[in-house]
Symmetry: C2
Subunit: 451 residues, 2 copies
C-alpha cells in the first residue's frame, strides 16, 4: 500500500464497449498491453488517496484461463475518463431494444445526450422530494435547452422504499393522464433505484408502454438497478413482486450526482460492485480490494471506473439472459438472504445494499460449508465488506424461522425448490442451483441467527 | 332469403389455420373450390333458421382483387365444426410467443387441452361472482382431472367494468402471494373481456410475468379481447390506460358458455364481428348480412364460424403488428368515438360493443362525408347493426364538447394529432390516418349530438 498505481482502465475510457460477449469482450479493463501503454501517463489519483494504492499491478494480471475471450480493449484512445463532458459509453446489447449507458462527470450539462433520446413532444420527469431540489432544474434545463418544442412536466413522489408501492405509482399515472401525455411521451426517472424501478414500471404500463430514460443518482442505481430493465413495485408481502421487464432508451450516469449522496447510501451501492467481482470478475474484485478507500473517498475516476466495469458486467449478463431464465439470476448473489432481511426487518430499516452485504457473507459462508470454495475467499469477502463499512451479519431480530418463511416465497423458488446463487471454485466463479445439501443452508442460518 | 346455404367454412373446420399472411392466408373461408366440394354435404343449419339464408352464394364470391394472396384453404378435412369436442385451432403467429386458439363446443370437458399448457404445479383461476357459479367447478375439474400434482386456487372478483381497476387487480396479487405462487405458476382468466384484461395484466406483472391462459366466456372476449395480448385496467380518467402487451399460452373457447350469456352481451360481441368485416374482410361481412339471425339465435355452428373467422382476422393483424405501430390500430374502427361514449357516459352504462356500434356508425358517417365510401356502405352498416339490435347513435347526453374532450386523450393521439380509423374505398377497406378534413369530424359530431 504505497505508491499510486495507474488505473488500468484509464486508457480505454473512451472505448465504446459492447456487452455482447460473443462479438467483443465487454470488459475493457486492459491487460498487459494497456499496462505498458499507461506507463508515463499522469496518475489520475490525487495524492490524498495515493497511499491507498499498492503499486502492485494485480489488476493487470493476465487474462484468466476462465475467460479466454477477454482480449485487451482498444487502447489507442488518449482521452481519459477524468476528462469530464466526454462520456464513456457502455452498450447494452438487446437486439432492437439495445441502448447506451453514458457515464461521466458533468453529463447533466450536456443537453444533447438526453435530447437525442426524446422523440415526442412531452416528457414527464419522475423524482422525489430529496432529489428534486438538488437536480430537477438541471434536468429540465438539459431537456429544454434550445429545444422549444418539448414540454416537461414533473411528478415529485415521497422519498423512501416504503413508498415503492402501487399507490405511489398511481400518482405517476394521474399526472401523465392529467397532462394528456400520449404514446410518444417519454418518462424520465431521476433518482435512485426506488425511483428508477417505479418510473420504469410506470413507463412499461402507461398506455401499455412509453419511452423511458434513466438518470440514476445513487451508486446503487448507477451500477445496478438502472441497467437491465427490471422494474416494479413492492407488495406488503414481498419486495418487487409486481413489475415488468422494460428497457430504457438510454441511461445517463452523471457521477457528479454522487457528491450529495449520504455515506451509507454510497456503501450500499458498493455491495453490488463487490457482487460483480465475486460472481464473474476476479480481476475487478482484486482492483476493488486495492481501491476501496478511493471509492469511499468518492474519487471521481475510481468511481467512474467502478461504475463502467459494473455496467459492463451487468450488461453482458443481461444481454445473454434478459428474462432471467438462468444466468441472470447470478446477479442475485446474497439477495435471497438479503431480501429476507429486508422483508422481515421492514423495508427501509436497512438499505438494500446493506442487506445484500450481510446476505453475501451468508451465501459465501454456505458455499464454504458445502466445500465449494476455500476459506481465503470467505475472509476476503468479509474484509472487503467490512472495509466498506457494510454489515457482515443479519440484524439481531432475524431468526432462522423468519429467514425460512420469507425465503419460501422468493422469486427463485421453482416448484417448491429454493435455488440459490453460491460461489464455487476459484474467485469469480458461481453457480445458480437448487442442488445443495439442505444441511449447509440450515447450518448457515443457525450460525448467523440467535435462534 | 329462402333456402339454407351451406356454410362455406364447414369443410375446413379442422384446418389448423395460421395467422401468418406471408406464408399461408389465414382465412379459411373457402372460395370456389370449397363451394364445389361442399355440394352434397349435409346442411348444418337447423331448419329453424334456414329461412334466413338466401341461397345465394355471395360469401363464395371470387377472391377479391385486393386480397390476391387469399388462396382457398385446405378442404380435404371431413369433420365438421359442429362435431363437438374436436376443436378448430387458429394459430396466432408471434414467433416464440405463438399460441393456439381452440374453438368448439364442449371443450371444457376436454382436460387435455388445458393441461397441456400448464407447466408448473400451481394455477390461479381468476373469475367473477357471475361466472364462478356457472363454470368454475368445470374448469377446476378440467385442470385437475387425473392430474394430482397440480394445485388450483381461485379468486372471485366483483362483476363489472367499474371494477376493472388497480384496486381490484391487487386482489389477484394478494391471492397469488398468499398462496405463494412462484414464477412457474399459471393464471387462468375465466370470464369476459374485463376478467381477461385484468387477469392478463396481473399475469404480465406478477413476478414480472407468469404463464397465462384465457378461457373467454363472452362473445366479445371470444372474438376479440382474448386474442392479441392487450391487457390492462382503467384509470378514472380513461379506459385501459394502464396495461401491458402480454400473450397467453393458449386461448380456449368453449362455445357452449355462450348459452348463459345475456342477449345484450351477445349483441355487444357482434359489434366486433361486424368490425372485422368492415375493416378487412368483405366476404365475412356479406356472410354476416345473411346469417345475422342465426348468430342472434345462437346457432352453434354459425357462432363457431363467426368466432373462428374473427379470430383469424384478429390473429393475422396482430401477428403483423403486435405492438400497434399502425395496422393493428385498424381493429379500433368505431372505438375512438365508442371510448368517448364509455368514458363520458360512465363505464358500465353502455356495453363496450354497444358504444363501438354507435361509434362505428359515426366513423362510417364521417368516411362518407369525406367522400371516401359510397352511401350503400353507410346503409348496410346501419342495417346490420340495427338487425343485431345494437345502438346506431350515441346516447342523448353526449355533446360535441364531451366527445372532443375525451378524444383528446385517446391513445391514438400522436403529438396532438388525433388519428382515426375510417373506411375508404370498396367494402372491407379502411385507413388509419390523421390526414382528414377536420370539418368532416365536426360535422359528424354535430350530426350525432344535440349540441
Ligand atoms: N431494478 C433492478 O434491477 C434493481 C437492482 C438493485 C436494486 N433495485 C432496487 O433499488 C432500490 C434501492 O435503490 P437505492 O439504493 O438507489 O435507494 P433509493 O432510491 O431509495 O435512494 C436512496 C436515498 O438516496 C437519496 N438520493 C438519491 N440520489 C441522491 C443524490 N444524488 N444525493 C442525495 N440523495 C440522493 C434518495 O432520495 C433516497 O433517500 C430498491 O428498491 C431495490 O429493490 C433494483
Ligand atoms: N384486450 C382487448 O384487446 C380488448 C378488446 C375488446 C374489448 N376489451 C375489453 O373487454 C371488456 C368488455 O368485455 P365483455 O364485453 O366480455 O364484458 P364483461 O367481461 O364485463 O362481461 C359481460 C358480462 O357478462 C357476464 N358473463 C361473462 N360470461 C358469461 C357467461 N358465459 N354467461 C353469463 N354471463 C356471463 C360477465 O360477468 C359480465 O357481467 C372491456 O373492458 C373492454 O375494454 C378488450
Ligand atoms: Zn441488489
Ligand atoms: Zn372493442
Amino acid at each position: 500500500m504505497a505508491a499510486a498505481s495507474p488505473l488500468p482502465s484509464i486508457n480505454s475510457a473512451l472505448t465504446r464497449s459492447s456487452a455482447k460477449l460473443s462479438v467483443a469482450p465487454p470488459l475493457s479493463l486492459s491487460t498487459a498491453s494497456s499496462a505498458s501503454s499507461s506507463v508515463g501517463r499522469p496518475h489520475l489519483y490525487p495524492s490524498s488517496i495515493s497511499s491507498l494504492s499498492s503499486g502492485r499491478i494485480a489488476a493487470l494480471a493476465p487474462i484468466s484461463a476462465r475467460n479466454p475471450s477477454r482480449i485487451p480493449a482498444v487502447v489507442d484512445e488518449v482521452r481519459e475518463m477524468a476528462d469530464s463532458r466526454v462520456p464513456t459509453v457502455v452498450d447494452v446489447d438487446l437486439g432492437s431494444r439495445s441502448y447506451p449507458i453514458y457515464i461521466g462527470s458533468g453529463l447533466l450539462d450536456e443537453p444533447d445526450l438526453l435530447q437525442r433520446h426524446v422523440h415526442g413532444k412531452s416528457v414527464l420527469v419522475v423524482t422525489n422530494t430529496t432529489i428534486a431540489p438538488l437536480y430537477l432544474d438541471k434536468v429540465i434545463k438539459a431537456l429544454t435547452y434550445q429545444n422549444p418544442k418539448v414540454t416537461v412536466e414533473s411528478v415529485i413522489l415521497p422519498d423512501g422504499e416504503k413508498y415503492k408501492n402501487m399507490e405511489t405509482l398511481m400518482q405517476v399515472f394521474d399526472k401523465a393522464i392529467e397532462c394528456r401525455m400520449d404514446r410518444r411521451c417519454t418518462f424520465v426517472a431521476l433518482g435512485g433505484g426506488v425511483i428508477g424501478d417505479m418510473c420504469g414500471f410506470a413507463a412499461a404500463s402507461y398506455l401499455r408502454g412509453v419511452n423511458f430514460i434513466q438518470i440514476p443518482t445513487t451508486l446503487m442505481a448507477q451500477v445496478d438497478s438502472s441497467v437491465g430493465g427490471k422494474t416494479g413495485v413492492n407488495h406488503p408481502l414481498g419486495k418487487n413482486m409486481i413489475g415488468a421487464f422494460y428497457q430504457p432508451q438510454c441511461v445517463l450516469v452523471d457521477t457528479d450526482t454522487l457528491n450529495t449522496l449520504p455515506e451509507r447510501e454510497l456503501a450500499s451501492g458498493i455491495a453490488e460492485v463487490v457482487k460483480y467481482g465475486l460472481i464473474r470478475d476476479a480481476q475487478f474484485f482484486e482492483w476493488q480490494e486495492k481501491n476501496m478507500q478511493s471509492l469511499l473517498a468518492r474519487d471521481p475516476s475510481a468511481l467512474a471506473y467502478a461504475i463502467k466495469r459494473s455496467c459492463e458486467n451487468k450488461a453482458e449478463v443481461v444481454s445473454l439472459d434478459e428474462k432471467e431464465s438462468g444466468m441472470r439470476a447470478t446477479l442475485n448473489l446474497g439477495h435471497t438472504f438479503g431480501h429476507a432481511i429486508e422483508t422481515a426487518f421492514g423495508y427501509g430499516q436497512w438499505l438494500h445494499g446493506e442487506a445484500v452485504a450481510a446476505g453475501t457473507v451468508m451465501a459465501v459462508d454456505m458455499s464454504h460449508r458445502l466445500g465449494w470454495i476455500d476459506d481465503t475467499i470467505v475472509k476476503r469477502v468479509f474484509n472487503i465488506l467490512q472495509q466498506a463499512k457494510l454489515p457482515t451479519q443479519p440484524p439481531e431480530m432475524m431468526t432462522v424461522e423468519k429467514f425460512k418463511s420469507v425465503m419460501a416465497v422468493d422469486k427463485k423458488v421453482a416448484d417448491g425448490l429454493l435455488r440459490l446463487i453460491l460461489l464455487k471454485g476459484p474467485l469469480g466463479c458461481c453457480v445458480f442451483t437448487g442442488e445443495y445439501d439442505r444441511k449447509a443452508l440450515d447450518e448457515t442460518l443457525h450460525a448467523f441467527c440467535k435462534n
